[in-house]
């Protein structure tokens, strides 16, 4: 039984469906990476899982439980966590408060998690009292990631976490992702820095026009010339 499984998912924003029949399955031990052209439906997929738009067909199951069309705030307690691609920080709240919000469902002591996050992004230590809206693009990205980690998820969903990060931080983040996964947290991420990401992905999915194009291990996709040419920029 896989940690999360999308079965023939059909979803959209009210108009014509954007996703028509997407299949994705991830184990707790997996790092799943979704790649594809702009507008393929990658973010839509994640949003659909997280109840930010209505699923009109197919189903989403998490650890055996059917969570299709659950409201987002019901998913977090189940152990899902999500970093959206855009608008992914509370701009008017300080960095610290952003993290607290990430841990909203937790009532226990947060200090260890906070230490963990600040250690992961030392730059943010100095800015903990600064409104996230005043951060640089990359710093926002770090805050967003940190927020998601605060809830101690079972499944972590990241939409282009490396966008806007310096190469150094991109690596940093990818290493962290691997670490977190090693700690038993399933990862499902969308990436445009596909080569680097697929390098450590255990599962890779290529989406185009709201449908699965290729599926396999990261390595398989990297080696597939077709994929490389039309999705990974040769």
């Amino acid at each position: 039984m896989s940690l999360i499984a999308l079965d023939k998912l059909v979803a959209g924003y009210g108009g014509a469906p954007i996703l028509n029949g997407v299949d994705i399955a991830i184990e707790a031990s997996d790092i799943g990476v979704i790649v594809g052209p702009n507008g393929a439906g990658k973010s839509t997929t994640l949003k659909a899982i997280f109840g930010l738009l209505t699923v009109t067909g197919g189903s989403v199951t998490f650890a055996g439980q059917d969570i299709t069309n659950f409201e987002a705030d019901r998913l977090v307690p189940l152990g899902l966590s999500f970093v959206p691609q855009e608008h992914n920080v509370f701009t008017s709240m300080t960095v610290h408060e952003n993290f607290e919000m990430g841990a909203f469902i937790r009532r226990d002591d947060l200090s260890d998690s906070l230490d963990m996050v600040y250690e992961m992004f030392p730059d943010l230590k100095a800015k903990r009292r600064q409104p996230a809206g005043e951060l640089s693009g990359g710093q926002r990205q770090m805050v967003a990631m940190g927020r998601a980690l605060m809830s101690r998820p079972k499944l972590l969903m990241l939409d282009e976490p490396s966008a806007g990060l310096s190469p150094r931080y991109m690596m940093e983040i990818f290493e962290q992702v691997v670490k977190i996964n090693a700690a038993g947290v399933g990862i499902l991420m969308v990436e445009q820095n596909a080569r680097q990401a697929l390098a450590f992905a255990t599962k890779g999915f290529v989406l185009a026009n709201g449908q699965n194009r290729f599926t396999g291990t990261g390595q398989e996709l990297l080696d597939d010339p077709e994929v490389a040419r039309s999705f990974l920029g040769g």
Binding site: P84, V89, M93
Partner: protein, 334 residues
């Protein structure tokens, strides 16, 4: 000396009381704006409604023949607040929730709130008619007069018990709200939702609950404000509607979404109104002898005629906004 006490009674006490009235109204406005991001025009009439609820309760209590050292209207406020909160929830469910569901713009909600305000006004007048009521028909309003122990001082410092209560409850309400919003978990959750509803959900915040809590607090605050106002002045169907503009002015002047801003804004306006029309000749009179012959203190010496009282308040409002475009405390904005 008497003249200075006169100044104190007029300018200082007057300003503080008026400021508190505005602040107490503004804190509710600022809360709704801060969380739900729209200017809730019906807040004024929710205040009036709350006052009438309290009035009915007070009547009932008085009918039972129970008397208190404090004004009965004040004693029953907590209960009135509960009822008002329920009303507020109902109003939201009936008129605002559907619009939010459609993802309506803030201005649409504002206009809807104008509709609501009209309905409340109509109902209040239908039920209570157009007359004036007072909380002090059964018990007298306590006037506090403090004589100062200097010789030659005849004029006492004077204010009324309701005014004292008004100022106190304003301070309590504002401070409490401030701590709730900035310290409590739910309070922060509310701010998070105001900032970015989707992300708030993604963080596991139950936005529906947040909205409900907001309305409960807002309704209660409105009731408190209305009742305190009615205790100080008197209870009429148009009690708060006539000061809803200054109340909004205060909220915005202070910086929308900031509890303390309400106080700041309210007091600035309150004092502006009071001092602008204060007759400074009074405080000069004591020095009449000191002054050289040719200076003749005119009978009235105020900055503007009192027709322009409100004007002064608004001039100040505009000027302050020009210097600090989002209010004294940097406020939120849609």
């Amino acid at each position: 000396m008497n003249d200075f006490i006169f100044f104190f009674n007029q300018a200082i006490i007057g300003g503080v009381v008026l400021g508190s009235v505005y602040a107490l109204g503004a804190v509710g406005v600022t809360l709704i704006f801060g969380i739900l991001r729209f200017a809730h025009f019906a807040h004024g009439d929710m205040m009036t409604m709350g006052a009438f609820i309290a009035f009915v309760l007070a009547g009932a209590v008085a009918a039972m023949g129970i008397a208190f050292p404090l004004p009965t209207g004040f004693i029953v406020v907590p209960f009135a607040m509960v009822i008002a909160a329920v009303f507020a929830l109902g109003i939201d469910k009936g008129f605002y929730a559907p619009l939010r569901a459609h993802g309506a713009k803030p201005v649409t909600l504002l206009i809807a709130s104008i509709g609501v305000t009209m309905m409340i006004q109509g109902l209040i007048r239908l039920i209570f008619g157009v007359g004036t009521y007072s909380f002090f028909e059964t018990q007298p309003k306590k006037l506090i007069r403090i004589d100062l122990p200097f010789e030659g001082v005849t004029r006492p410092i004077s204010f009324s018990e309701p005014q004292l209560l008004l100022v106190l409850s304003t301070i309590v309400a504002v401070v409490a709200l401030h701590y709730f919003l900035t310290r409590s978990r739910l309070g922060k959750g509310m701010r998070a939702m105001a900032d970015n509803p989707d992300l708030a959900k993604v963080s596991g915040i139950n936005t529906r609950l947040v909205v409900r809590v907001t309305w409960v607090i807002a309704g209660a605050l409105a009731c408190l404000a209305g009742t305190m106002l009615a205790l100080d002045v008197s209870l009429k169907p148009d009690l708060a509607f006539n000061i809803v503009l200054p109340i909004f002015a205060a909220a915005i002047l202070g910086g929308l979404g900031h509890a303390y801003g309400a106080i700041a804004g309210g007091f600035v306006l309150g004092f502006a109104e009071t001092l602008a029309v204060f007759n400074w000749a009074v405080v000069l009179r004591p020095f009449r002898d000191a002054l050289p012959e040719w200076i003749e203190i005119p009978n009235t010496l105020s900055l503007v005629q009192s027709e322009y009282k409100l004007t002064v308040a608004f001039v100040i409002l505009v000027v302050v906004l020009l210097v600090r475009p989002t209010g004294i405390f940097k406020g939120a904005s849609t």
